[in-house]
Amino acid sequence: MSAAGDRASADAGTPGGAADPSTAPHPPTRADLTSPRPVDDHPPTRAAEAGTLRRTLTALRHDPPAVAGTVVLLALLVVGLAGQWLAPAGINDVDVDQMLRPPSGAHPFGTDELGRDVLSRVLVAARVSLQVGLVSVGIALAVGVTVGLLAGWYGGWADNLLMRGMDVLFAFPVLLLAVAIVAVLGPGLVTAMVAIGVVYTPIFARVTRASVLAVREQVFVRAAVSIGTSDLRILRRHVLPNIAAPLIVQTSLSLAFAILSEAALSFLGLGVQPPAPAWGRMLYDGRGFITDAWWLGFFPGAAIFVTVLAFNLVGDALRDVLDPRQLTVSEARRSTR
């Protein structure tokens, strides 16, 4: 953790200092996501964008948890891309002579009930987690931003219809809706991605709409409208760049939640199907041996934890820099169950 003052701005403000108006004194109802945030009163230029990028990177470099998170994420990326080459053994090399062996030099994470090397399976499973996380958040981002842009820009009945639809999706506990969708479409990698994507769409729609509402009344947007610029061009050139900050923050935090959701789905047998390894599924399969073989329960879970923690640390730091008024990760976590 960094010095208290650095991160306080995102949590509540320091005592005696300026308080953050978005975190209290009212409860963080889901409507909080729609609170408008201040936007610069000028259109973005390339120089300004480069400045923001540099400022962000500088700030992240001076935030030790964010550096740690970034390093872990980069390592995960490597593991995700090259897991099967890094793995010391094949993920489905069954060896009945080596069943349920504790961690040793030959098998650093031990072996499972079929004598398979747990380390190799944990490494290869990283790809599934990252893949599901990235694709599902990609779906949520694409659909959510489109819906939010249309609702916020056009207003009126389109706004009403679209956002009431999002309210409906928001009315389900996240995991319950994902389970229901996967149950109906049939378990598997693709349906897990779709289900998690659907579940996280409303958040992006709300964040986008709220930001659009704030930008829409800015002078540079009204100027663009008055000279007859097309809607598409205004949205792309003037609105999107100005609402990017909250979306980037939401994306990084959502990745953490999406990976947790994927782990939960695969624990329930609704994610990627065996014999392909997935962290959640490994925990489920190992639960019968919990007390005899602690390593079966420990390592896959630790992998989930470290991954999610890394995304949260980076997401928190990004929020502090880019969008200090946005809801804290803990409040967002309300929507992971």
Partner: protein
């Protein structure tokens, strides 16, 4: 106040209608014939026809939906494909297990989060504050089912103090219930506690910065009196509502923990319905939970408007 409540009520009704539509359409999304899928491979034509007839799947979609909503309004959520029992009673049977687990988890969370949150706000920047931050970052990142597994490993395996899984009804044997609920409630409660810790901390910090707190201190009130009478009273209003929302989200959200601990609640029911392709039960459980969730949120908003009249002005 009245208008605010009325508007929120109307909104909830609209959303609830949408929820029924989504739940109804779930069945339509099943590839192929849901009745055939549900029955598997061993069934005769008679069974099939009977089930098909009863599920009303051969009628037009609009008629099906209207009849679904109509029946749901009277508390009729259809019958299970498997047991033929009414879905409503199947779901309600599971409520005590889920309810007792959720309430225990939230109480546990409060027990941890309240002192930790208040202390870390009062001593912002201190060791306690840092510890609270590390704790809450840990809590929001850890999968609750992994905490459950680690808990079983330690308290059931190594120490042998608690049973690894299973359920005893609170009304049958309170002591047995307590020993069984401890691990799952702690696993769920840990995550909730880390959320609440952060929220309580920000809420208290917010109030500490208010002018009336400075005034109270300036007129010479003792620190403890200021904290209890002025700070906590105001800081805890939003906390009450967050706790209620947390509780609501747990009722439908502890599927994985209920599966891990063989806890026969609504989450476990959902899981079993998925495994058995018992779609009416799945629909019923999802609709029930979503409705409960909506009602709790509505209640929270109304409660909050009562506790803090400023809210209706926004």
């Amino acid at each position: 106040m009245g208008r605010f409540v009325l508007r929120r009520l109307l909104q909830s009704v609209v959303v609830l209608l949408g929820v029924t539509l989504v739940v109804f359409l779930l069945l339509q999304l099943v590839p192929g014939d849901p009745v055939r899928v549900a029955l598997g491979t061993r069934f005769d034509q008679q069974t099939y026809d009977a089930l098909r007839e009863r599920s009303g799947l051969d009628r037009p979609l609009v008629v099906q939906y209207l009849s679904y909503v109509g029946h749901a309004l009277t508390g009729d959520l259809g019958v299970s494909f498997r047991s033929g029992q009414p879905v409503t009673s199947i779901v309600l049977e599971r409520l005590p297990a889920t309810g007792s687990l959720s309430v225990t988890a939230v109480l546990f969370a409060l027990l941890v989060a309240f002192p930790l949150g208040v202390l870390s706000a009062m001593r912002s920047g201190s060791f306690v504050d840092h510890a609270a931050r590390v704790f809450s970052q840990f809590g929001v990142s850890v999968p609750d089912f992994w905490m459950g597994i680690m808990g079983i490993l330690l308290f059931a395996g190594v120490l042998g103090w608690l049973p690894p899984s299973g359920y005893v009804a609170l009304t049958d044997d309170p002591a047995g219930w307590a020993s069984h609920v401890a691990l799952p409630a702690a696993a769920v409660g840990l995550v909730t506690a880390s959320i609440l810790t952060r929220f309580i901390r920000s809420s208290v910090l917010e109030v500490l910065a208010e002018d009336y707190v400075r005034t109270a201190e300036a007129k010479g009130l003792r620190r403890r009196v200021v904290i209890v009478r002025h700070v906590l009273r105001n800081a805890l209003i939003p906390v009450v509502t967050v706790v209620a929302v947390q509780l609501a989200s747990l009722v439908g959200g502890v599927i994985v923990i209920e599966v891990l601990f063989a806890w026969p609640g609504v989450g476990r029911l959902t899981y079993d319905a998925v495994q058995a392709r018992d779609y009416p039960v799945l629909q019923g459980a999802v609709l029930f939970v979503a409705t409960l969730f909506l009602l709790m949120n509505l209640l929270v908003d109304v409660l909050y408007a009562r506790l803090d009249p400023r809210i209706t002005l926004r």
